[in-house]
């Protein structure tokens, strides 16, 4: 994994709350056996008409969204299934961070493992971001701070180990493999 230190970008806002993984990437696209190319199907049912033509007014299809790396969403983003295809699709589309007041557990874990930053903010910050689509913001993993164009800067929490892995591009599998002696000892000591 490439290290992630900072994301500096404009935002795209999808204000709905409880955006579930079936919206992020509908199940019929899960028949893939690779991680690549899912960006085309990101939010497919909101982004395209049944005949495949783009829904012009949907935010991801609008010119001002192009190049934006931060998605701001309503409460409880990423609920539903464990499909890692959801962060894969967001990353493939070009997003590097997702901001909400609440982010579902499995989606959060999956995002961190792929270098997509799940940033949980307070209500006031969320409100400001939801009200200012396209705002140019800065997310700094070194300081764990998010800075708005107004100059307001808020701290966010990121689990220490996940942050370490992101900052240094550490692969969690490598870390687990370094624990193999412990794992063997554990297995040997178990009586059941």
């Amino acid at each position: 994994m490439q290290p992630v230190v900072r994301v500096h970008s404009t935002t795209v806002v999808i204000p709905s709350s409880n955006i579930d993984t079936d919206q992020i990437i509908p199940a019929r696209f899960l028949t893939t056996t690779t991680k690549q190319g899912l960006g085309r199907q990101l939010f497919a049912d909101w982004r395209y008409h049944p005949d495949g033509t783009p829904v012009a007014e949907f935010v991801l299809n609008r010119p001002e969204s192009s190049g934006a790396q931060v998605l701001v969403a309503g409460r409880n983003f990423g609920c539903g299934s464990s499909r890692e295809h959801a962060p894969w699709a967001l990353l493939d589309f070009g997003f590097r961070a997702v901001i909400s007041t609440e982010i579902a557990d499995i989606f959060r874990g999956n995002s961190l493992k792929n270098g997509l930053l799940p940033i949980v903010v307070d209500d006031a910050t969320s409100r400001w971001l939801l009200d200012h689509p396209g705002a140019e913001i800065d997310i700094d993993l070194n300081t764990c701070r998010l800075t708005l164009p107004t100059g307001v800067s808020v701290a966010f929490l990121l689990e220490a180990f996940a942050r370490h892995c992101l900052l240094h591009g550490v692969d969690e599998l490598g870390y687990l493999q370094s624990c193999l002696d412990d794992i063997q000892r554990y297995e040997a000591a178990r009586s059941w």
């Binding site: 409880n18 509908p26 199940a27 028949t31 049944p50 890692e84 579902a104 687990l176 554990y186 059941w192």
Partner: protein, 464 residues
Amino acid sequence: MRTLFDKVWAAHEVVAETADTPAVLYVDLHLIHEVTSPQAFSTLKRLGLPVRRPDRTLATMDHSIPTSSEQVFGNVPIKVDAAALQVRQLEENAAQFGVELFGMRDARRGIVHVISPELGTTQPGMTIVCGDSHTSTHGAFGALAFGIGTTEVGHVFATQTLLQRKPKTFAVNVEGRLRPGVTAKDLILAVIGKIGVSGGTGHVFEYRGAAIRALSMDERMTVCNMSIEAGARAGMIAPDDTTFAYLKDKPRAPKGKDWDTALARWRTFVTDPGATFDASVDIDASSLEPMITYGTNPGMVLPIGAAIPDNAGDEVFDKALRYMGFHGGDAMLGKRVDVVFIGSCTNGRLDDLKAAAHILKGRKVAPGVRLLIVPGSQDIKRQAEAAGYADIFKAAGADWRESGCSMCLGMNGDTVDAGQYSISTSNRNFEGRQGVGARTLLVSPFTAAASAVRGRITDPREML
């Protein structure tokens, strides 16, 4: 004084968590299926690693496989090409890595969360993971069972462990007793309605109380299955004599002296009196009614006789109602039904099919309504056929299929058309879950069957 969760967690800590590092948690049983495993196998191949404990790994096919007999057993090829590729890849991967696979034509195949309990591989006190959020189902046996992503599937393949922060505990206390016609599905929908779809985030539920103790294993699995719909990572129920009676003589449950040893150990997996939880909620089972969802998440749920609340002005609420084609103030009873789906890892077990058969016996599906009944496993299919339920279903005009996830997520071609109303015993009513534009209403098997007969949303208690 420790909770059930604390005990299972502690027994699996290879390395305890610190401020800087999560715990290394040992995984007793790793279940895999065709949709979330290919990329994890690719990682192993890229790194030249084996599956470390194939003996703790079980594979099945459920999500994208067809449910028509001609495609499963006949010479008709799988309709969805990409699904056929996934099925082939899992066959190849399982063979290459020495993982036991219940392949497409295996008599033991079925939905991953249905077959492991049937086999007796799901046992109290275990840690069980799968690349699937409804892994919480196995918590019904007092196991700590949760869904993981594909990267983590790779971690478990390679090391049989996971990096995990210890979640918080949440007691869901359900006293009283469910009334006739009110099922475990209604109970869990009521819980989700009460605490909301993110109410359990960061927590593991323990379902407790007299109403839970009175449930069969099939019913307990229905309850634990939907823990994730309240945001919880897992849901657990302490094992008791109901659990042990279910497991006894299951093909892979311990036998003879091993059974006695296991039983003594399993009995310790209960929350000590006086142990405390980080959060709790109290529900009175006696006051519950059959429940039905009206929106686009499982928390938008009502007693079946109620009217949709009028929250006009709430953008999210309005959007959900627009999608569903409903209006604030509408009564749920009597609404139109196009498709009825009975199945899934929530309600595709024998108790569920028995409930559906009870309603459908001697009755017919209303004209214009499609009723699809998909057993959770091939074993359940055989049992339902032996018990005569399948004949009742066919006589009623239902479509009776081979096992699989089917219309629960519409990956295999079993889908609901845009704009149609699907009364479903599955677990998610998200937009498009059962097909592009499909409108899903989650209910119990009783309510699903009763609504299929009338062609309108019906309180099943009128037909018991």
